[in-house]
Amino acid sequence: MATMTAPGTTDQLTRSAVPARKSGRRSRKIRDNVTGYAFLIGAIFCFALFTWYPMIRGIIMSFQKTRRGVTTWVGWDNYTRIIADPSFWPAWRNTIYFTLLALIIGYAVPFFVAILLNELRHAKGYLRVLVYLPVMLPPASALFLFKFYAYDPSDAGLFNAILKALHLPTSQWMQSPDATMPAMVIASTWMNMGSAVLIYLASLQNIPGELYEAAELDGAGLWRRIWNVTIPQTKLILGLLAMMQIVATMQVFIEPLILANGAGTQDSATTVAYLIYQHGFYQNDLNGAAALGVITLLALAAFSGIYLRLTTRND
C-alpha cells in the first residue's frame, strides 16, 4: 500500500519521534481497509458461493458418489463410467466438429462482413442494426424459427423452398445425420455473429489510414492489403475472439436441445454440454456430470495452453 507521505526523511522522523501518530495512522489504515471490504463484501459473497466454491466442489463431487444420502469416495469410478457411455466419444466428435465448422463459418464470415461494412459509406447504421438484431432474440425463439420454418424437411420449409427455386437438391436438415451439425452451425452463426461483427468493426476503425496508403503506393492490391495490413493490425482482436468463440462453442447446448430434440438421429447432435445436462438432470447422475465437467475444463485448459504457446511464439 502506498502512503501519501513524502518519501524518506519525514516518514522516518514521524515514525521514531511520534509513536502516538504511528498507531493513529495504523488504525486509520485498518479502518480504510474495513471500508474497502465493506463495499466488496456483496460481490465476494456471490463469487464465493456461486463460482469459487462450486469450482472446488465440482472437482470433489467427481470423485464421490451419493446414494440414499450417504456420500462415499469412489476414486475414478465416475470417470470410467462417463467415458464408457456410448455417447461420450460421439459427443466429443460432434463438439469438435461444431467448433471447427463454427471457426470456418462463424469466425471468418463476421470478419469479412465487418471489412465489407467498413468500406461502405452509406447505410452503415442500418446495416449494423440489422446484423445485431438476431443477437437480441431469445435463443429459444430464434431456434424455433429455424426448427419449424427454415429446416422443415418438406418442400414447404423456407430453405428447401429456396433450394428448389434455385434448382438445387433439397435436404432433410435435422432428420439427416449428415446435415445436423452444419444446420446447427448455420442457425448459431445467424444468431450470434452480430457481436463479433461490431467488435471487428470497432477495431478496423482504429487502423491508421496511412498504412493502406503506403501499401497502395507499394503496389499492393486489394487482397494483399487485407493480408498485409488489415489482418496484422487486428491480430489481437482476431486471437481474442477465436479464443472466446472456442469456449462458447464448447458449450453448445440449446441448439441440440431445441433443433434436434436433444441427441438427434443416431447421436448426430449430442454435444458435450448436452451430455453433461443429460447425465446430471435426466439420469440423476450428478457425479458423472461433474466428472465430465472436469474433463471438459481440462480439455479447454490444455487447448488454451497450446494456443497461447503457438500465438506467443509467433510474436
Binding site: 481497509n33 471500508t35 474497502g36 471490504y37 463495499f39 466488496l40 456483496g42 460481490a43 456471490c46 463469487f47 458461493l49 456461486f50 463460482t51 469459487w52 462450486p54 469450482m55 465489407l116 461494412l117 447505410a123 442494426v129 445485431y132 437480441m136 432474440l137 431469445p138 435463443p139 429459444a140 425463439s141 424455433f144 429455424f146 419449424f148 418438406s154 418442400d155 414447404a156 423456407l158 423452398a161 457481436s195 461490431l198 467488435i199 477495431s203 476503425q205 487502423i207 489510414g209 496511412e210 493502406y212 497502395e216 488489415t230 491480430k235 489481437l236 464448447m250 458449450q251 447446448f253 436441445l257 454440454a273 445436462y277 438432470f281 465437467g293 472436469v294 471438459t296 475444463l297 479447454l300
Partner: protein
C-alpha cells in the same frame, strides 16, 4: 461510431468516386443492403407472418409469401394456453431484480477496487477475472447442487428469484467494465470531496455515479437481455409452471402444441428484447465495443 467518411480505409475515397469505382460501389452497396435485409429481417418476417397462417397453409408448397387469410388465433391461443402474461411478468421481474442486484453490488465492488483499493484488492480482482475462463457448463452441476442446499444455512433457493439474482452478481465482466470506467475518473475529485467531509458512500453516490451514467446504462441493458435470453439456468432453478421464464415456458410447451402456436409464442417472447434494442441500440453498440481491446 462516427461518420468518419474522411478517414482512409482499405479502398481509397478517390478510387470510389472515379467512374468505374462509383458503379462498382453502388452495385455492391445495393447488393449488400438487399441481401442483408433478406438474411436478417427475412426470417423474422417469415416468423411473424407464418404465425398468422393456418396449419394447412403452412404445410403448403410452394409456401405463400403473405397469409391468404391472416388470423390472429395462433397469437391469442398461445397467449392464453401458455399463460404468457404470467411468464412475461416473471421474466420481467427477474430481469428487473437482476439489474438492481448487479448495479448495487457490482458498482460497490468496482468502486472499492478502483478507488478505495483495500489490501489484496488486486488478488480479489484476479480471482474474479479468472472465473471468466471457466465455461458456464462446467459449473452448472455444482452450482445447482449449491443452490438446492445452501452451505451452512441448508435452505433451498429453488423457485426463489434469488437463485437468479445472486449468481448474476458474480459477473466479472461487469465489474471489470465498471472498474475501468471508474479508473478514468480522476482521484482529485475524490480528494476534493473528502476535504469537504464526504465519506466513501457519499462520494460514490454524488460524484462517481452521476458521472457513470452511460456505463451504468450499458450494464443494465446487458443484464436485462441476459436474463431474457438465458435458458438452462432458469430451467433448472425455476422448474415450476408458475415461476418459469418465458423461454423455458415455450420450450416446455412446444412438445404438445401446434407449430404455429409455438412460433406465435416465440414472436411474443422476442418482442420486448427487440424493442429494448431499437430504443437503446446506440448504447448497446458503444458498450459492446467499450469492453474490447484496441487491436
Amino acid at each position: 461510431m462516427s461518420q468518419n467518411s474522411g478517414t482512409r480505409t482499405l479502398i481509397s475515397q478517390a478510387q470510389l468516386q472515379r467512374g468505374k469505382g462509383k458503379v462498382v460501389y453502388w452495385t455492391l452497396l445495393s447488393l449488400v443492403v438487399v441481401s442483408f435485409t433478406l438474411v436478417f429481417i427475412g426470417p423474422l418476417y417469415w416468423m411473424v407472418t407464418g404465425a398468422l397462417k393456418t396449419g394447412q397453409e403452412i404445410a403448403q408448397t410452394p409456401p405463400t409469401l403473405w397469409p391468404q387469410d391472416p388470423n390472429f388465433s395462433n397469437y391469442t391461443n398461445a397467449w392464453s394456453n401458455l399463460n404468457l402474461s404470467k411468464l412475461l411478468f416473471n421474466t420481467f421481474y427477474y430481469a428487473l431484480g437482476a439489474v438492481l442486484f448487479q448495479l448495487v453490488f457490482d458498482t460497490a465492488a468496482a468502486y472499492s477496487l478502483s478507488k478505495l483499493r483495500p489490501v489484496l484488492g488486486n488478488v480479489v480482482l484476479g480471482a474474479m477475472l479468472a472465473t471468466l475462463m471457466i465455461p458456464v457448463i462446467v459449473l452448472i452441476v455444482p452450482q445447482y447442487v449449491t443452490v438446492i442446499d445452501l452451505p451452512l444455512v441448508h435452505t433451498s433457493l429453488i423457485n426463489q428469484p434469488l437463485a437468479i439474482w445472486l449468481p448474476l452478481v458474480a459477473n466479472a465482466f461487469n465489474i471489470f467494465l465498471l472498474k475501468r470506467f471508474f479508473d478514468s475518473i480522476p482521484d482529485d475529485l475524490m480528494a476534493a470531496a473528502q476535504v469537504d467531509g464526504a465519506g466513501p458512500l457519499r462520494t460514490l453516490w454524488s460524484i462517481i455515479l452521476p458521472m457513470s451514467r452511460p456505463i451504468l446504462g450499458v450494464v443494465s441493458i446487458f443484464s436485462v437481455t441476459y436474463v431474457w435470453k438465458d435458458f438452462l439456468w432458469p430451467k433448472l432453478v425455476m422448474p415450476d409452471g408458475s415461476t418459469r421464464t418465458v423461454s423455458v415456458g415455450i420450450v416446455a410447451f412446444s412438445g404438445g402444441s401446434s407449430v404455429n402456436e409455438v412460433i406465435a409464442a416465440s414472436v411474443i417472447a422476442a418482442i420486448p428484447t427487440v424493442i429494448i434494442f431499437l430504443i437503446f441500440q446506440r448504447n448497446i453498440m458503444s458498450g459492446l465495443t467499450a469492453g474490447s481491446v484496441k487491436g
